[in-house]
């Protein structure tokens, strides 16, 4: 669906995006993770032909971008760095204006499509208030409705849950999951780890303009070689596993061991009751921390040599 090769964007002397090889496959739930200022938004804008690359190639839905971007844009729903709407018009009129502005928005079923899109994002009962009276969350939902106005094959969403409360975030996630089940490829960027963790099947991590990680989430969350273990008699387990226990918190032990099955058998054989046992996996946070160098909004003092 999306493929970039050596994609680079420089603004003057700063490099916003640096040699990115992105690959999003059909049907993916791709999450692009990275702190603010890591180049996510610039990357998204290049995919949509808004910003022109300094170097490298982009292919979206099999067409080269930006050269033939206008052929693919009608099948893409996009939310780029916050919603944009005409503040003096109502939400409904805004959608109608954007729909009428471009190709493929047939006039005959426009009303029905707008109603349906508003319903999907939870704005079905919206009145004629102008958008300037909307809350940030409502604007975000309206932006999402605009992206869904004509059934997209690919959704490119930059920080889609900005300004939403926890319930709203959950609703949006459920909506995206539903769309994905219907075959829509979802590419979303976020600086929120939990959001990507909860929704995505494939993850890319940006750090200072570079794509430092790109893999399926399951492959990233490899076992750490430790097992977490619950037992009502932790003293006996510690005595038995002598030296292999790394951490103890009440009745939960963390044990250095590769195979939870073998460990369980060993404990049960020794008469230790096991209430829970599981291989510990790397969290997405650990993956990200291991791959990134530092917080991009920190400004370190450079010591003179």
């Amino acid at each position: 669906m999306i493929r970039t090769k050596d994609l680079t964007k420089r603004y003057g002397r700063t490099t916003a995006v640096d040699g990115v090889d992105l690959e999003v496959r059909e049907g993916d739930r791709y999450g692009l993770l990275g702190p603010n200022g890591s180049g996510k938004t610039t990357l998204v804008r290049m995919l949509l032909g808004l910003v022109f690359a300094t170097r490298g190639e982009i292919e979206v839905l099999g067409r080269p971008v930006p050269r033939r971007v206008r052929e693919v844009l009608p099948s893409i729903g996009a939310l780029v760095e916050g919603p944009g709407a005409y503040p003096n018009l109502s939400g409904r009129t805004n959608l109608a204006v954007f729909d009428a502005a471009g190709p493929g928005g047939r006039r005959r079923d426009r009303r029905a499509r707008i109603d349906q899109a508003l319903e999907r994002v939870g704005l079905g009962g919206i009145d004629r208030r102008p958008v300037k009276a909307y809350s940030l969350g409502m604007r975000q939902r309206l932006g999402l409705a605009a992206a869904l106005l004509r059934p997209p094959r690919l959704l490119i969403l930059d920080e889609p849950t900005n300004g939403l409360d926890p319930r709203g975030i959950r609703e949006v996630r459920d909506l995206l999951a539903e769309l994905n089940r219907d075959g829509v490829t979802v590419f979303l960027s976020s600086h929120l780890l939990s959001e990507i963790d909860a929704f995505c099947s494939r993850v890319g991590v940006m750090d200072r303009g570079r794509l430092v990680v790109q893999d399926d989430l399951d492959d990233l969350r490899v076992p750490t070689g430790r097992v977490t273990l619950g037992t009502p008699t932790p003293e006996r387990a510690v005595a038995l596993l002598d030296g292999r226990v790394e951490h103890r918190a009440g009745e939960i032990l963390t044990v250095r061991h590769d195979d939870p099955g073998a460990l369980n058998a060993e404990l049960v054989a020794a008469g230790v009751t096991v209430t829970a046992i599981a291989a510990e996996r790397r969290t997405l946070e650990e993956v990200v921390l291991a791959a990134t160098t530092g917080s991009s909004d920190r400004v370190e003092r450079v010591e003179a040599a």
């Binding site: 610039t42 844009l73 003096n88 009129t93």
Partner: protein, 277 residues
């Protein structure tokens, strides 16, 4: 896209506010003239102002002379400066472009909506000032036609028919639209350069003010014929008998050159611009 731009133009209250302000200025002037009956001495003050006291039907022409030098270009510069930069800072530009709306199309639609605005504003001024003129000064249109004011024609007693007056007004409207499109082109170009609508409008006004100053400066005589505002008032020549075409033609020609160059620059700039706001 053009329909969408026009809908946006006429759905915004500011369109009507600006048009209302443009209509208000001639009205205020007319009220003062009608109550005091003190005409500006011929050759001073706005063109036609002394003539309207005797004939209200000429007031639309006087109103044009009142709004043209400052008010109309300021409003055109504000709207044109906002055209692209305003959409960029409101965040709507990127959604239009990914809709997708072609960048050239967008620019053309913006320009057309600006032309429509100028036509709308001028028509509003013409209609209201005609009504003002007739009510406050009375119309002395006999069947013989309208007497052209002596301070313009330098020939007293020349009359033109009402149909002739309408034709001349139409010529005036066309000429003013061309002049204002020149202003719009400056502001539209700057609007593609900066993301600040205010900056673009200020830039365009700076160009116009500089041009106005240089027009009156004898030391700048060498470049005077090429200044954008040099022939702005040439439409007054439509009210001479016979019509004096020389300055009208030159003025239209200059505006056309500015238009082509600046729109070309705006187009080239906008087509390769990173929409990063």
């Amino acid at each position: 896209m053009i329909r969408v731009e026009l809908a946006k133009l006429f759905r915004r209250p500011r369109t009507y506010v600006i048009a209302g302000l443009l209509c208000a200025l001639p009205l205020i002037v007319a009220i003062f003239l009608a109550t005091t009956r003190i005409p500006p001495p011929p050759g001073q003050g706005g063109a036609f102002l002394s003539a309207v006291l005797s004939n209200g039907a000429l007031y639309p022409a006087a109103a044009m002379a009142l709004v043209l030098p400052v008010f109309l270009p300021v409003s055109v510069a504000v709207l044109a400066g906002d055209a692209v930069a305003g959409e960029a800072s409101a965040g709507t530009l990127r959604y239009l472009l990914v809709r997708p709306v072609g960048r050239s199309r967008l620019l053309v639609a913006k320009l057309i909506s600006l032309v429509v605005f100028v036509l709308f504003a001028i028509s509003a001024v013409l209609v209201t000032s005609y009504l003002t003129g007739i009510t406050l000064f009375g119309a002395s249109t006999s069947s013989a036609g309208v007497a052209l004011p002596p301070d313009v024609t330098s020939l007293s007693g020349v009359t033109i028919s009402p149909a002739g007056l309408v034709l001349r007004l139409l010529g005036t409207v066309a000429y003013i639209v061309i002049s204002m499109v020149g202003v719009a082109a400056i502001a539209l170009f700057l609007s593609t350069v900066t993301d600040s609508a205010l900056g673009a409008a200020m830039g365009a006004l700076a160009v116009l003010v500089t041009s106005q100053v240089l027009v009156t400066l004898d030391a700048a005589q060498a470049i005077r014929p090429y200044l954008p505002t040099r022939y702005w008032l040439a439409w007054i020549d439509f009210f001479r008998e016979p019509v004096l075409w020389r300055d009208i033609e030159r003025g239209a020609g200059i505006q056309l050159v500015y238009l082509v160059v600046l729109l070309g620059a705006a187009w080239a700039n906008f087509l390769t611009k990173d929409v990063a706001n």
